[in-house]
Amino acid sequence: MPPLLLPRKVPLTASVLGLGSSLLLGFVTFRANRLAAGEAIRLLQTGPCGGPVLMAAWIILATTSILKIPERWVNFTLGLLPGALVPTALKVAGGQAERTALASGDIARVSLGAAFWVSLFAAAVIMLDAWHTGGLRRKLTLFSATLGIAVTVYLMVSGEMSHLSILREFINRRERFTGELMAHLALSSSAVGMAVLLGLPLGILAHRKARLRGGAFFVLNTLQTVPSLALFGILIPLLAALTSRFPVLGEAGIQGIGTAPALIALTVYSLLPVARNTFAGFSSVDPAAVDAGRGMGMTGSQLLVRVEFPIASPIILNGIRVALVQAIGLTAVAALIGAGGFGVFIFQGLGQAATDLVLLGAIPTNLIAAAADALLNGLIGVANPRGLR
């Protein structure tokens, strides 16, 4: 008799994780009001049909991952189901929130629970594994993930989920949210912009002048080690002292707290990845390429712009990517010194013990960091000079 089982370890582990968490942990959390203690509601205790559908999906995924069945079926199940699972889970949670609102009034809150997040994680693991597997499963995953994200965004925007606690927090602060988004983007991107303006020349200089190299990178490395809250903190009295000594600075809008110390600290943190990678990028240029350019009669600045910089640009962009992702995360901390951004929601939420307000700050911060990461990775692909690909 041929063997019946052919365990595919990754999707199997992930779907057991999804199934187990849905059985044991709360899928949504019910609160009598925004700040009351939560009561976990498991998936099968939610509305009439959503729970069993999700359970069935996990069981199908687990069975597919362990049985010896034709590869094409496996590809279709593992490629399509996880992408469909995510918006379905959201819909189930949103439906439960709506029923609760009808039953217990508008003060009651329904938040996403542990089982929801674990399921999301498990589905992501299956998709990542499918992406690596390649072939048909990769294409189907790409299709279902794109569709899943589109449906998720639609559910969020359409107002169908508006009874979920996190969206209630959003609706209460719609204008504030846009403002903090803008503040967050402006602060992190201008810090990285300043770091590029300073770090590019610094990196090139470090490449050309060996004497400067050790000292410059020692200072930047040491500054990078200093915790963000400490650097923000030290800058506050420093800037306050400067503005009281030179009132001109105060008139220019520079204050001890707020944007000025945040921008300085974030620029300092972004400087190391940019300068280090500029140095590494220029060091990676084959001296023969420079020689060839010189032989063609290029001047020093022509060599820099047309030979060295294009060859170094992917590595430099990678430094900018690291700096940008880091700056977006650190901007959230800068809210503590009054610089605005999504950190405002995070720390307000922590202060009020309001989970969903924390999420309203943390999730968008993660999303823009991931988006910046993806964007720069795309640019790196494009920036690779054609001759070197």
């Binding site: 990754v10 200093v226 903190g233 506050i236 995360g329 959230a332 922590l350 999420l359």
Partner: protein, 245 residues
Amino acid sequence: MTDRNRRTLIPLAALAGLFVLLTAWMDPWRMVLSTVFPTLDKVVYPLAPFRRLVAEHILLVGSSSILASTAGLCIGIAVTRQWGREFLPAVNALASMGQTFPPVAVLALAVPAVGFGFKPTVIALFLYGLLPVLRNTIAGLQTLDPAVLEAASGMGMNPLQILTLVEIPLALPVIMAGVRISTVINIGTATLGATIGAGGLGKPIIAGLIGENPAYIIEGAVLVGLFAILVDGVLGIVSRDRADG
């Protein structure tokens, strides 16, 4: 010990001395800060002696970093073995995605899961500290020369011997670099733990920000900055020593 290590040892020892002095002895703080801020009533953080804050900080970072390094090493070893290799691509992808997570977000998300205080901070520090160690363990173990491993098995070593006597010693510099990154990040994130009631050197900084007392801010910031530079330097020496040994 390498030349470079010998050269960094003296400034590092001086820094350690300064750190101990500033932790144990309040008078220099009082003298300097009351001259700089003559208008402040109180210049030294009153709620806890610095040695207690430093001890809390060490406990937070120490426990989470030891846990994170152990777990990162174990997972990294597991996914590079024959039986765990199926997990390697997914773990790799998760680890690099996880590092785009801002540390403060991880900290904030641990609160709804576990509540306020010491425990969620250690959990968040553990989760975030895991990634650099994991990534470097995988990188270190995967870039080993296959010829070396073949030679080891040709000598009659069993897989466990190859792992403990060949692979880990050769990959140790890269692994230690991951431990260093992870620990330094954790010192910074532990400072933010003060916002969720975990104690540590972030406490005077937060208290100073709320009470508009720049002296408290400077005390916490200087101590935690020194602590981070010190730990980074020591781990740098340890990892470079391993690289030669």
